[in-house]
Structure formats: C-alpha cells, structure tokens
C-alpha cells in the first residue's frame, strides 16, 4: 500500500499516549464518546503505524525522497549566483553540459557519473570529510541556454536547480545558477558549515569563478604546492596553503 512513515518518533509516542488516554477516558464517560473514540483510535493508529494521512495530504514528513516537498516554501537553502565569462554561450554551455567537467571547477564535488537516461550520480565531500551521494535527473535542457535538474528519491541531499547561459552584450556569457538544497541536518548544518567558511552560496560562487578561469585563462589559479618557510602559530587560517 506504500504507507511510508511520515510521523517522527517523538510524535508517534505522543500520539499513542494521547490516543489511548482518550479511549480510556471515553470508556468511563457516557457523553463525548462520539468524538473521543474515533479521535483516540486515529491517534493511536497514527502513532502505532507511523503513517498519518493528514501529513501525507499536506506534504509533511516527505523530506528528501520527494524533492519538491523537501524544497517547498521556506525549506532548504536557496542560492543565486552569477558570473560573466568572456566566451560565447555555446562554448560555456558545452563545458557545463559534459558533467565529467564539473569536478574540475565545482568545490567539494568529487565525481559526477552519467548513469543513463538523463540521470547522473553525484559524489560530494561535505565539511568534516563526510561523503554525500545522490542521483539527479535533468528536467530541461535547451542547448546553449539552460539546464535544470532535480535529485531523485533515496538521495542524501535533496536538490533542484538550474543554470542559465545568456549573452552578456559583448562581454561574453552571463552564467546564472539558481539552486536549492536540503542536506542532512538541513538549515542547522548549513549554518554550521558557514561558520567554518563553507556556504553553498560561497561554494557556488567559487565554482563559477573557477569555471571562468578555466575557460578564459585555460587553468584554475593555484598556490597549493608552492614553497614557504616554517609555518608557525596554532591557528593557521584555512586559506593558507589551500
């Protein structure tokens, strides 16, 4: 029947307690049974099975297996970033459209594999060395103009987004990324990541900047691996030596 769990553990305990309480109370009363018995039964069943049709109807408790639900309204983290690249839209589009290029410029993305039927498998390294994996499907692809995607059920990260490629009036291509995501820990973990200098907006902007360098200069600038003297001090900032 596909009655997947959509009530969290504490809420189930509370539902059982309240539901059985109502039934016990109703058994001792003459009046009020018409309301108390069905309501108590509903709550107890909801707690016992972990499935609530009301939650189902309003979309509660369907995080990550349902991208649309996970990212609806104020849920998820939203990012909008843009950069101008001195290359024609067709060329920038072509580089992005070949997903094997993405790890060359997107921070934290370790690997993207094509798995057939417009589907891709993503492997990312999150703060603290945690690996996150998800599958995504392309929703729309307009050559030279736009690619949009969303993640599929069973992902560590629910994400949906688009990248647009527009002519920038003689300056090349304006690339705009709109992205939403909800990972493990949701907004709390996003806030924590930001504290240690990693935010989705920052990472996206960094990715766009590296794409620009790759396309314009032919390489991404780096100082990782260059010589230096003795690094002193206990609190060496993260921006030193990469």
């Amino acid at each position: 029947m596909g009655l997947h769990r959509n009530v969290n553990d504490w809420e189930r305990v509370a539902s059982i307690a309240l539901g059985t309480g109502l039934l016990v109370w109703a058994a001792r009363q003459r009046s009020g049974r018409a309301v108390a018995v069905p309501l108590g039964t509903f709550l107890a069943a909801r707690g016992g099975t972990g499935y609530c049709p009301v939650n189902h109807a309003i979309g509660r408790g369907r995080r990550r297996d349902d991208t649309r639900a996970a990212l609806r309204g104020r849920r998820g983290v939203k990012v909008e970033e843009s950069i101008t690249i001195a290359r024609p839209p067709s060329e920038v589009y072509a580089v992005w459209n070949d997903v094997s290029n993405l790890p060359r410029f997107m921070p934290n993305i370790e690997r993207v594999d094509e798995i057939g039927g417009d589907r891709t498998h993503w492997v990312a390294c999150a703060p603290g060395g945690i690996h996150l994996e998800w599958d995504a499907v392309v929703l729309q692809r307009i050559p030279g103009e736009l690619i949009s995607w969303k993640s599929l059920p069973g992902s560590d990260v629910a994400t949906a987004g688009s990248v647009r490629f527009e002519s920038a009036n003689g300056h090349g291509t304006r690339v705009t990324v709109n992205l939403q995501y909800s990972g493990p820990g949701g907004k709390v973990s996003a806030a924590l990541a930001k504290l240690i200098g990693r935010s989705p907006a920052g990472d996206t902007h960094e990715g766009l900047r590296r794409l620009k360098s790759l396309l314009e200069a032919g390489e991404v600038p780096t100082v990782i691996g260059q010589p230096h003297g003795k690094r002193g001090g206990l609190h060496l900032p993260t921006w030193v030596d990469g």
Partner: protein, 389 residues
C-alpha cells in the same frame, strides 16, 4: 633554496625552503639574478597589510633566467633573461584585454577574501599577502611565475640587471602615476614622497611635458635626489606644505598632485598626522593618510590627484568636501605593468632614463632582513636596496 620569509611585524628570516615547481601549464620557474626591496614591502614589514601568514616568502621586484617552462609556455626558452611584472595577469580576461592588467579577473586564487573586503578582487601579486593570492615572492633563489606566456619580459643582453630590474614595478609605477596625472605642457606637478616611486614620478612628469615639478619629503638626501632629477623641493619638517605650494604656484595650486607615500605617512606634527598615529596605534584605523589629505587640500581647481601610494582599508577624515568643491579628479590603483614594459624599455634603450640612479645599496640575499631594517629607518642614505641571491 634560500628565501626571505615573513614571520610577523619586523621579523624576517632567511630560511632554507623547497625549490618551487611547475603547478600549472602556463607556469615557468625563474632563477633570480637580482631582486629589490620595495617601499610597499615596508608595509608588510610593519604589519600593515592583513592576511599575511608566518613563513610567507616576500618580494615582488625581481628578474632572472628562465630555467623551466610548463607545457603551455611556447614563447620562452630555457636561458631567456626576463624581468617579471609584480602584478600577475592571465592576459585573456576582459580586464587584461582592456589593458587593466593589475585588475586581472583570474589570477587571484583567494579572490573571495578580496571580494569580502573590496567587493571585487584585483589581480594576484607576488609576495604580497594571501588576500592578493598568497603567491610566494621573488626574494629567493628561485620563483614560480604563473602565466609565464604573458608576464615575463625578455630584456636585451647589453643592458645590465640594474638598468632593467625596476621595469618590474617602480619605474612603471612612477610613470603610470605621472600619466594618471594628465599632465599638460608646462603644468606644475607636486609629488609627495621622494622615495624611488616619487623620484620615478618626477622624472616621468618631466618626460610627459611638465613645466615644473615640486618634490615633498623630509629626508635631506631624498630632497637632494629630487633636485638632481630637476625638481624644486619642500621640506615638510621646516615649511608648511600648503602655504609653500600656494606661494610657489602664484596662488593657483599645482595642476596635479601625486601621492607617492601611501598608508604610512609621517606628516610630522600636523593635527591630522597626530590623529592618525593615535587611531592606528589603538587599532581603530588601518591607514595613515596625511600625504593624501595634503594632496587633496593643496591641489588647484579642476586638478588631478594621482595615487600610486598603497592604501589598504577605510580612510578616516578624507577632505572630500575640498575634492568636491574644487572639482578634482582622483586616479589610483596598482600598476598595469605589462602594458608599460615595452614602452619604458624603449626609454631606457634610447638613453632618456637610466633607472639604476635610485640604487643606494647592493647586498646579498642572506643580508636581506638587516637591509629591511636599514631601509625602514632610512639609515645610511638608503633609497633602494638590490639583493643578490
């Protein structure tokens, strides 16, 4: 190899560090034959520039011999003798193609730090803090040079290191300052600071047609050097700069003012200088800007204030009202070195200028830290130190 490493305010050490290697296809490795200490290196030495880290290799004025090239560098060969611009530029972004080499979009791997402070990032620089890219500098035996297909400038054998070394920074910087001053024939130009950049600005102002140039400093030897470049001088320890400039220009004020001092102005005794000293000492301000204040207040109506001196943070008590009331133009920024090198080499070759006139000291790389100390304190008439690795 040996390199001069930064370890904190007025703490430099000559250390043995690994040799640099090619990290990107457009890199080259240069064996340094001559390198110099820049006045702006003193801002690092004094701890005024944020995002330095212990162990950073200093130096952005250097030249030498190409010893290794990356796979994408086809215009250089092993053994080529080159001067390297202190600004690192990719040569292919819109900024570079517009001639704004020091505003290169692509050369700063730490652009995000600069963006937080300044909104957008300028180019990376050699040996000048992580905010400017964290690139290891050239006060070393070897240095890695990114985008070597557009940066390193081949120089003819008949010119000595000392004649061409300053194409890396201070000659183009002084020249661009004079060019930014939009000098017309016969104009009066005032130059704050008669250190190397100020001296090159004085010479360049004359080359660009200035009628009179007035140099402002307090070190007798530097004032003497300014006079030998053809300038009149004002000693700000003895005279009121504003009053003196008014008299010398017949009440017109200079047509252009060049601030070749930057964020560590001394401005002895003036109220503004005392205010800055107090505020920076309390870490409530980042820059001492008495030279800039004077330049704005002294400049004649409709004039230009050109700023080759380095500023880093938020300036306090800038006389913006004076700048507005007199309709001044202000121009500034790091030097677009790449664009100036061929032209200025021409001036050296045809004998219009011999940049080696600024050199006062030649010392071994391993004596670098003492040389910094001497340069900072202007001991022994020190104007410019060349280090030999």
């Amino acid at each position: 190899m040996k390199a001069i490493c930064w370890h904190g305010t007025r703490d430099l050490r000559v250390e043995q560090v690994p040799d640099p290697s090619i990290l990107n296809p457009r890199d080259a490795i240069v064996r340094v034959t001559s390198t110099a200490i820049c006045g702006s290196d003193l801002h690092l030495y004094d701890g005024f520039i944020p995002t330095m880290a212990s162990g950073d290799i200093l130096g952005h004025e250097f030249m030498g011999e190409v010893v290794e090239v990356g796979g994408q560098v086809r215009n250089l060969s092993i053994g080529d003798r080159v001067v390297v611009p202190f600004t690192i530029a990719c040569g292919r972004c819109e900024s570079c193609r517009n001639g704004h080499w020091s505003l290169c979009d692509n050369s700063n791997p730490n652009a995000w730090i600069a963006e937080k402070l300044y909104g957008y990032s300028a180019s990376g620089l050699f040996g000048y803090s992580h905010m400017y890219g964290g690139y290891a500098g050239g006060q070393a035996e070897y240095v890695r040079v990114p985008y070597a297909d557009v940066g390193p400038f081949k120089v003819p054998e008949h010119l000595t290191d000392e004649q061409v070394l300053f194409l890396s920074d201070i000659f183009p910087t002084g020249y661009m300052a004079a060019e930014n001053a939009e000098i017309g024939p016969g104009d009066v130009v005032a130059v704050w600071g008669c250190g190397p950049v100020g001296l090159f600005a004085i010479k360049s102002a004359f080359l660009l047609g200035a009628g009179r140039v007035i140099g402002i400093d307090r070190i007798p030897h530097r004032l003497e050097m300014a006079r030998s470049c053809g300038a009149e001088t004002i000693d700000f320890d003895h005279d009121s700069v504003l009053q003196q400039l008014r008299v010398m220009t017949g009440g017109r004020g200079p047509d252009a003012c060049i601030d070749a001092v930057g964020l560590e102005a001394h401005g002895r005794g003036s109220m503004g200088a005392i205010y800055d000293k107090g505020k920076t000492s309390l870490l409530m301000a980042t820059d001492r800007l008495e030279a800039l204040r004077q330049a704005i207040l002294a400049c004649g109506k409709g004039g230009v204030v050109s700023i080759p001196g380095v500023y880093g943070g938020f300036l306090d008590k800038v006389p913006m009202g004076a700048a507005f009331a007199k309709g001044l133009t202000m121009r500034m920024g790091q030097t677009h070195v790449h664009g100036y090198m061929p032209r200025l080499l021409g001036l050296i070759e045809d004998g219009s200028i011999d940049p080696s006139f600024v050199i006062s000291h030649r010392v071994a790389l391993s004596d670098g830290p003492q040389a910094y100390q001497m340069f900072l304190n202007k001991q022994d008439n020190c104007t410019k130190v060349v280090l030999k690795p």
